[in-house]
Amino acid sequence: MDASTIDITEEQLDAVFGALADRTRRSILARLAEGEASVNELCAPFAVSQPAISQHLKVLERAGLISRSRKGTARLSHLVAEPLKEAVAWLGGYREYWEESYERLDELLDAIRRDGSVPTDPGGSSS
């Protein structure tokens, strides 16, 4: 019902939400929202081993939520914003649809009560 729901595939959404279903991975993303980081830097706040963090980073990379690059011997992770924005757009669809509809209903009913008659459709799109 929202154009954004058409653009994103079910598989992409599965990958994004699968990646987000883990608390540590969400924390990693929150950290990366502040800027790129190495595996060591990402390990620091967690009571988790470096291989475990590397594993989480692989899942995030597969979901398209981060990209990775090399700087000397360090591998840096960067947040990729687009899939998150798409996921949020997808989630917000239903609520947004009805919120906006009811706002328009408020305005329509106000106009009817004010003018005592049915306003003409500005879009002229009703049958």
């Binding site: 019902m1 279903a21 929150a30 998150l84 609520r95 009805w98 329509l108 009913l109 009817i112 049915v118």
Partner: protein, 160 residues
């Protein structure tokens, strides 16, 4: 203006919504009943709304289209079950982009004097259908993820 309340319990087939409207019930009912009024409020503003068929009685068919400015058309259709009244408007609902997945929707207009409480219940054929169609963001275990997503995207948007 009051806030829209959306409830989608984890694992259930239902979505419930509640929204208070600052108008008497008979007027709100007209906005549901008359296609030329319905076309002026149902759906986001960015879509042009075309009511193709709207037989507001027992067994009557309805169909409307949302069109965006990219040339995309999103069609919806269904059938009214029982004569719709302010105490209950029951209809089936199917998104033509997701055919075969039908929900049963009931809307009730609760008289609150000068105001009206609109309550809706949509019952889907499966939890998957509900979560797929509804995009409500409340599926099992996902609540926190969504809150985090909000925080994250707020940061992302602030930084971009």
């Amino acid at each position: 203006m009051t806030e829209l309340k959306v409830t989608a319990e984890p694992g259930s087939h239902e979505v419930r919504t509640e929204r208070e409207i600052d108008a008497p019930r008979d007027l709100v009912f007209r906005a549901f009943k008359e296609p030329e009024l319905l076309a002026q409020w149902l759906g986001p503003r960015r879509y042009e709304m075309e009511v193709d068929t709207y037989e507001f009685h027992d067994g009557g068919r309805w169909r409307y289209l949302h069109k965006d400015d990219q040339g995309n058309t999103f069609g919806f259709h269904g059938v009214f079950h029982g004569d719709p009244t302010p105490d209950g408007m029951v209809q089936t609902f199917e998104f033509e982009g997701y055919p075969g997945h039908v929900s049963l929707d009931t809307a009730v207009l609760e008289d609150r004097g000068e105001k009206t409480l609109v309550r809706t219940v949509s019952v889907f054929q499966s939890v998957e259908d509900r979560d797929g169609m509804v995009q409500a963001g409340m599926a099992d275990g996902m609540r926190e993820a969504y809150e985090r997503l909000d925080e994250l995207t707020a940061k992302l948007i602030a930084n971009s």
